[in-house]
Assembly symmetry: C2
Homo-oligomer: 196 residues x 2
């Protein structure tokens, strides 16, 4: 028998799936509730802030999940540049496994609503900051100079490569970004380059 706890979780799962597949704006409460097999009454009981509250919770829950993934992928005593490149190679495989659907709704929602929905923009900004912090903690622990700057650039590279990969239905941009990300980490780790 379904409990009320189930209903809340089902609504969140349905919203997460629909937001990442078709975007936030294109997704209506009606479709979320039909997918979750929930009623309007239960939706507004659990999410009195409506679709914006659902958007915020989806962003924060996905953000926390990916922060955990970052902590899991970025650890160990190997070359941090190699660890970074391997995370990108793994991300390319994820993109392929998902048939180029966005694995994570945060970026899509952030792009859609950065200019129009301040609550969701802020939730996205907090998530990106939490990822940067998790990655910077790893780089800092491995003696990388300016770990925050490096972490920001690596996350930007991953997000941008995902965007290009989804648009072209190809893993090539994410695979191309793997050695580039390693180069960014190596430049921060190594002796000053003679090139510039």
């Amino acid at each position: 028998m379904r409990t009320t706890g189930d209903t809340r979780a089902r609504i969140l799962t349905a919203a997460t799936e629909l937001f990442r597949r078709q975007g936030y704006t294109a997704t209506g409460m009606k479709q979320i509730l039909a997918t979750a097999e929930a009623t309007y009454g239960s939706a507004y009981h659990f999410f009195p802030g409506g679709k914006t509250q659902l958007g915020e919770e989806v962003i924060r829950a996905s953000g926390a999940a990916y922060q955990g993934l970052i902590a899991e992928l970025f650890q160990g005593e190997g070359d941090p540049a190699e660890t970074t490149a391997q995370a990108f190679t793994g991300a390319a495989q994820t993109l392929l496994d998902l048939d180029f659907a966005d694995p994570c709704p945060v970026a899509t929602i952030a792009m859609e609503v950065s200019g129009t929905n301040e609550a969701l923009r802020l939730a996205g900004a907090e998530v990106f900051a939490s990822w940067t912090e998790a990655l910077a903690a790893f780089y800092g622990s491995r003696g990388i100079a300016e770990p925050r700057t490096t972490a920001t650039a690596v996350i930007a590279l991953l997000e941008g490569a995902f965007m290009l990969g989804r648009a072209s239905r190809s893993t090539a941009p994410v695979l191309d970004a793997a050695p580039a990300a390693a180069a960014v980490v190596r430049a921060a780790a190594g002796p000053p380059s003679v090139g510039g």
Copy 2:
């Protein structure tokens, strides 16, 4: 007096502005036509394919404009890594000048519709490919190894940094990405790294 040529251009300009400010899905034909001071009759005369055709034309026109900007920014005989870093610094200023509105509708539309509108996904993919080609031509002319791979990574880095910058209403991600982009170019230009 307004001519029919004016009407077509006004509709395209209005659609471009609205798509980049609030996204493709959130923008209806009604709002586009009100902003353009145009009628439904003229819209379907010039754009019989409706909003999807408008989306495609906006993506292609913006894509061509930015391809021209890439050709303009990436030239000259200076250090190509420095030229790349300067382009990022300039992009950060653009983001600030626009009060963190997306300067370009291509990425937002690509993120929104990659999974749901094949015509627009393809238009976005063609635009990203044209940018990569323009940038690869520059890197190739400057003797960078694997110019396409390098160009793809640099464009991914710029797009991702813009996304983080818009979400956080800060130029920091784009400024952080500037030395990272230079490092990517330097790694492709220089002798093999000893790091890995």
